[in-house]
Amino acid sequence: MTTPKKAAPNLDTLALTRRQLHVIIILDCSGSMAGDRIASLNYALRSSVPELKEVARENPEIEVLVRVLSFSSTADWLIETPVPVGEWSWQDVAAGGDTHLGDALDAVEASLNADVMPGRQLPPVIVLASDGYPSDDFEAGLQRFLANDFAKAAVRMAIAIGGDADLEVLQMFINHASLRPLRANNAPDLVEFIKWATTAPVKAASQPTGADDPQSALAGQLEQFSAEDTDIVW
């Protein structure tokens, strides 16, 4: 008999597969986003990366994976193969072109299946940030999207960029009674909202709650957002 060489190698929870949480970020990179909006968006995503990593670290039971899609005249995956959040880094996007949101939803829908998301899954988190009015057949795309089981179960969040954003379209995407789009009318808000929308649903998995379901808990948190004072309004 000797003392253990390594402490408790037998508690090998590393060998146990964790339930996955896919975070999918859909970004509007159409022409109307050019200038300081796209710059703020890049900044917001860049600063969300470490925050999401931190939140994921606080939830060791789940494995967080990230995908990013940008859309303008076409829908293009910036990260198509889900990347573990620990390895995620941000590459800036540029703006230009139309607003093919319908195409974007089709692209995401096509990737919401058991091939890309095998095994035990948490409801995915799908965050859409957009300023514009879709220029393609958005409603048909949305219909196909919402028919997908993963999309149906997903926590869908939307950020409206600019005071003139199409809230109705974003609300249709969210498709939940009490959860509303976040309205970012300036750069600081956008940064705050992108961070919140990407991290809050992950955090919710281990946060004390007084709400009956996760979506309503998020809606409750939203009510506490206070507008940031700033002179620059989009």
Binding site: T2, R19, P60, R120, A200, T209, Q224
Partner: protein, 447 residues
């Protein structure tokens, strides 16, 4: 909840207690949570942590001030709580806060026990059992004072990997039993009747959350996550309601295996479970079978405390792989690596078994009365300096021990001396007589 653009209090902000008698100053920002932010603060020469609530939160939680006032008035249940010491206010501010002791940097959150490397803290099973023992003691004191915690979970409990001391934070949800709760709790830690929204948190739901926490600390896994959990490809709200609310079923339920371990998926858990001391397994089984459905049949703090105290001394480790097993189980081979195991020696003490493994300290509490104290040792097991495999027991007490070795005349072991150990020997610690036994070799029973 986190997110609101709440302004931080600048360093140097002055505050006072509610009577305005004692004055202090904020020294720096520590962190921000859902309900408020925590700052380092000085108050009359002492260093404290100051929790300052978001304005929006004090409107929501109307019972907060009363709960805190009561908590401050009655004082901490024991030294494991970072308890509110005094309510404080800041001139011109709508909100309020409280000061509490500071948690030092050598404490880790409980999640670090199941974290991915390199964040992971590795502890042996006996170390984990000692942590659980201290948690039982702390919650016993809390509940005995007529209070309930309401939200026992990973997030607000910390441990020191060296001393194995624990700290329980976020005591602002602590409530008088029977008063309206401010929250339901945390996902996967809530009692089934709270998940079903049939009741608000109370002492009995605390007992359930505590047993989930113990299972996590020991197994690194949730007790209700088995086959049925694995079969849900998407864990949505309905699935969670079924798994943790309406149809909860223990992973190791001896009668119903519908949510049992899945081959290839839960194997490490099965091995660990098989190698736990059987009385601890019985407690877990009770907690997550009858205790699931009947809050009055839940395992009580004292029962956990004594089971964990016993378990902390009753483990041995495979010399080949380090895999830990219950010393009295008498396994012929290691459940982890398959290597043959030497028959293990142990002392059959009045308060539990004591594994005779080198380095293991014999605590007073195994021999006689007194509450568990893992620091007061009367003896320690030592390996022979030159003969591998030969072990002895050193007398660390101030008294002579009478020792009877098989086939020899009784002798005395004076303080500071060591004697070789063999099955059949008997030690007399004062009036307490204890024998050295050898585990009977057998195959480890199935789950």
């Amino acid at each position: 909840m986190a997110g609101p653009n709440q302004k931080k209090l600048p360093d140097g902000t002055r505050f006072s207690n509610l009577g305005g008698v004692r004055h202090g100053v904020i020294d720096g920002f520590i962190g921000q949570g859902g309900q408020g932010a925590v700052y380092a603060a000085s108050l009359e020469g002492g260093h404290f942590a100051l929790k300052w609530y978001h304005d929006s939160y004090i409107d929501l939680d109307t019972g907060l001030k009363q709960r805190l006032t009561h908590a401050v008035h009655r004082g901490a249940p024991n030294q494991s709580f970072l308890w509110p010491l005094e309510l404080v206010e800041i001139a011109g501010q709508k909100s309020f806060g409280y000061v509490m002791p500071v948690r030092s940097g050598d404490y880790h959150g409980m999640r670090d026990l199941i974290a991915r490397p390199p964040d992971r803290v590795e502890l042996t099973l006996p170390q984990r059992f000692i942590i659980c023992c201290k948690l039982s003691e702390a919650f016993l004191q809390l509940h005995a004072a007529g209070l309930c915690y309401q939200d026992i979970n990973f997030g607000n409990i910390f441990f020191n990997p060296t001393t194995l001391d624990i700290l329980i934070c976020d005591n602002d949800n602590v409530n008088v039993e029977g008063a309206d709760a401010s929250i339901y709790g945390t996902r996967k830690f809530m009692a089934p009747e709270v998940v079903r929204r049939e009741t608000l948190p109370n002492t009995k739901t605390d007992l359930f959350s505590m047993s989930v926490l113990f299972f996590y600390v020991v197994m690194g896994w949730h007790p209700l996550d088995g086959k049925r959990e694995a079969d849900f490809s998407i864990l949505n709200s309905e699935a969670e309601m079924s798994l943790y609310g309406t149809e909860p079923l223990f992973l190791f339920d001896p009668e119903n295996t519908a949510n049992g371990p899945v081959d290839g998926l839960h194997d490490p858990l099965v091995t660990r479970w098989r190698n736990l001391p059987s009385d601890l397994k019985s407690l877990f089984t009770r907690a997550f079978t009858t205790g699931l459905t009947d809050p009055n049949k839940r395992v009580l703090e004292r029962q956990w405390r004594s089971a964990f105290t016993r378990a902390a001394h009753a483990m041995a480790a495979c010399g080949h792989c380090g895999g830990e097993y219950a010393v009295a189980a008498g396994a012929a081979s290691c459940g982890y690596c398959g290597a043959a195991l030497e028959p293990a020696l142990y002392l059959d003490c009045p308060r539990g078994l004591f594994a005779l493994t080198p380095g293991h300290g014999l605590p007073q509490h195994l021999l006689g009365g007194g509450s568990p104290n893992f620091k007061t040792l009367v003896g320690v097991v030592e390996g022979h300096p030159s003969k591998p495999g030969v072990i002895g027991l050193r007398n660390l007490s101030d008294d002579n021990w009478k020792v009877e070795l098989p086939g020899r005349a009784p002798g005395l072991l004076p303080p500071g001396k060591t004697i070789g150990l063999m099955a059949g020997s008997t030690f007399h610690f004062g009036k307490t007589q204890v024998s050295v036994r050898e585990a009977q070799a057998k195959e480890v029973a199935a789950v």
